[in-house]
Amino acid sequence: MSEATVAAPRAKRRANSAYPSWFYLPAALVYAALFLFPTVASLFFSLTRWTLFDATFIGFDNFAQFFREPFLVKGLINTLIYAVMTSGLKVVLGFLLAVLLTSQIMARGYLRSVLFFPVLVSTVGVGITFTVMMHPTTGVINETLGLFGIKGPGWLTDPNLALFSVALVDVWKGVGLATVIYIAGIVSIPQEYYEASLIDGASAWDNFWNITLPLAKPATVTVIILSLIGGLRSFDLIWAMTKGGPGFTSDVIASVIYKQYQAGFYGLSTAGNVVLFIMVAIIIIPLSGFLNRQGDGQ
């Protein structure tokens, strides 16, 4: 009797010791040292004037600057515009393309491939290629438009247009990922729904609106969240194409962080990081909560 009661916990302990907690350790060390600790430290250093060797506490001056200096405010606004625009276009185009590519269309394999390949290609390479193609006078895009008698705009040289041009290239590169996520979502919708609606005499439009769209919701949530996070943090494409220019009209927070770092304003650069962090958090956390809750209600 007493032997049995002793044996049970021991067996359990033995089973549990097959999953030792030190398995967390290698990952935890790297993560804590190079991600977690710098993140926590950034909260302090963002409040300082910092030279890497010594830091002078200056309170919220860096943050005040972010909301006062016109070029920094512009960066904040641009980040929002860029993220919302790329995310919105990826959702709409990705969904429509996925519907098209899951229908009985010819050359599906080819279409999926050409759509997805840019996802895997170097962002800098894509950025440079499009920068050359978007040249206002000798670029391929405007020369082609010229053949139709259209005078193409200065895609990257017009201050009002540069950010949108980069965002379009971002969509060009990323829409393939949104599409394959949507395809996975649409393919997982049980076929019975479509069979039932066929019996009810529903049109293709009804199917699209009342079955595919609502039941692809998990995919929509994923695409929105992924592309918003990516869009808010976006740096390499903007840096490869405009470096934030002309002037600072296409600067985003990530490029401001880099510029301030290069200029040696480490405290201000770190404050930029914290601003970006807060921005991502206050957009993504409530949004994913909201979107997922809605999903449960259905």
């Binding site: 033995r14 097959a18 999953y19 907690s21 398995f23 967390y24 290698p26 990952a27 790297v30 993560y31 040292a33 190079l34 991600f35 993140t39 430290a41 950034s42 250093f45 890497l52 098209l100 010819m106 050359a107 080819y110 279409l111 491939s113 050409v114 759509l115 997805f116 390949f117 840019p118 895997l120 170097s122 962002t123 800098v124 390479g125 440079i128 290629t129 050359v132 193609m133 040249h135 670029g139 391929v140 020369e143 060009w172 996520i181 996975a184 998990p218 995919a219 949530v221 994923t222 808010l232 943090r233 490869a240 990530a254 962080i257 770190t270 990081n273 962090f277 991502v280 958090a281 997922n292």
Partner: protein, 275 residues
């Protein structure tokens, strides 16, 4: 005619997608084939001769064979960080799924934090300097591991669920140590997700531009993405060389794409359906 009418959407899709998605790549290839004078016109036109080989030789010789060094560096970076990522993340995913403990909640929270929080750049440089890892390749390897862990842990955790616990128990009864259980029984069964992680992370790390820019500055340790960036100003007038370089660094992703298209799409859409 009826064929055309029935398939006009398909034909239109093929036409539009070819123009929108293939023309930029064709532009890269065509420009890489041209000589300096013709490429400077930035036209979408056939090259007046085959100059790819000359361009290739010139790009490779630029700045003392910098491109070759960069390819070696990128290869080391990619292989080392992906190897560490697979092992570290699989260990975490395994224990996280198998043994609920006081740590589980914290670990789950940290995994999500890693996905959402943008890395704090300058403090990271400060830490790297303190550790003597700034401007070193192994420093960057650990950075890539730290930033990639969250995504990989999520994938592994989701996949460990599908491995029956009975296998663990059988191994434990046979006296297998935790390490043997993990490396000889569980990890081989995780093969599909290991392949996914290898592919997705390899492409991401090979293409990474921002982290080498911050944590591995200088010309000694360049990675391929940085050579492109450095050459952008140097090749200001030699578009043939710039695009030959772009072509060169597009080849590794192209190979991955040609051979593992299905797996990489599966990896990138993992979790999308479950939400």
């Amino acid at each position: 005619m009826t064929y055309l009418r029935r398939n006009w959407i398909g034909l239109l899709a093929i036409l539009v997608s070819t123009v929108v998605f293939l023309v930029p790549f064709a532009f890269i290839v065509l420009t890489a084939l041209k000589d300096k004078r013709q490429s400077s016109l930035r036209e979408f036109s056939l090259p007046n001769g085959f100059h790819l080989w000359d361009n290739l030789v010139e790009v490779i010789q630029t700045r003392n064979y910098m491109v070759l060094t960069a390819f070696v560096n990128s290869a080391i970076l990619t292989v080392a960080s992906v190897t560490l990522l697979v092992i570290f993340a699989a260990m975490v995913g395994f224990v996280l799924q198998r043994k609920p403990s006081a740590w589980t909640g914290l670990v789950n929270f940290l995994v999500l934090a890693g996905l959402i929080i943008p890395p704090a750049v300058v403090p990271t440089i400060w830490v790297l300097q303190g550790l003597g890892l700034f401007k070193t390749l192994h420093g960057l390897i650990f950075i890539e591991v730290a930033y990639g862990l969250s995504f990989c842990v999520l994938l592994f955790k989701a996949f460990v669920v599908t491995i029956p616990r009975e296998l663990d128990e059988a191994a434990i009864i046979d006296g297998a140590s935790p390490l043997r259980l993990f490396f000889e029984i569980v990890l081989p069964l995780l093969r599909p997700v290991v392949i996914t992680v290898i592919l997705v992370q390899s492409v991401a790390i090979f293409n990474d531009f921002t982290n080498p820019l911050y944590y591995l500055p200088g010309t000694k340790n360049v990675t391929v993405q940085l050579t492109l960036y450095n050459f952008q100003s140097q090749y200001n007038t030699s578009y043939n060389l710039l695009f030959t370089n772009i072509l060169l660094i597009t080849i590794p992703p192209l190979i991955v794409f040609l051979f593992f298209n299905r797996q990489i799409v599966a990896g990138m859409t993992a979790g999308a359906v479950k939400g």
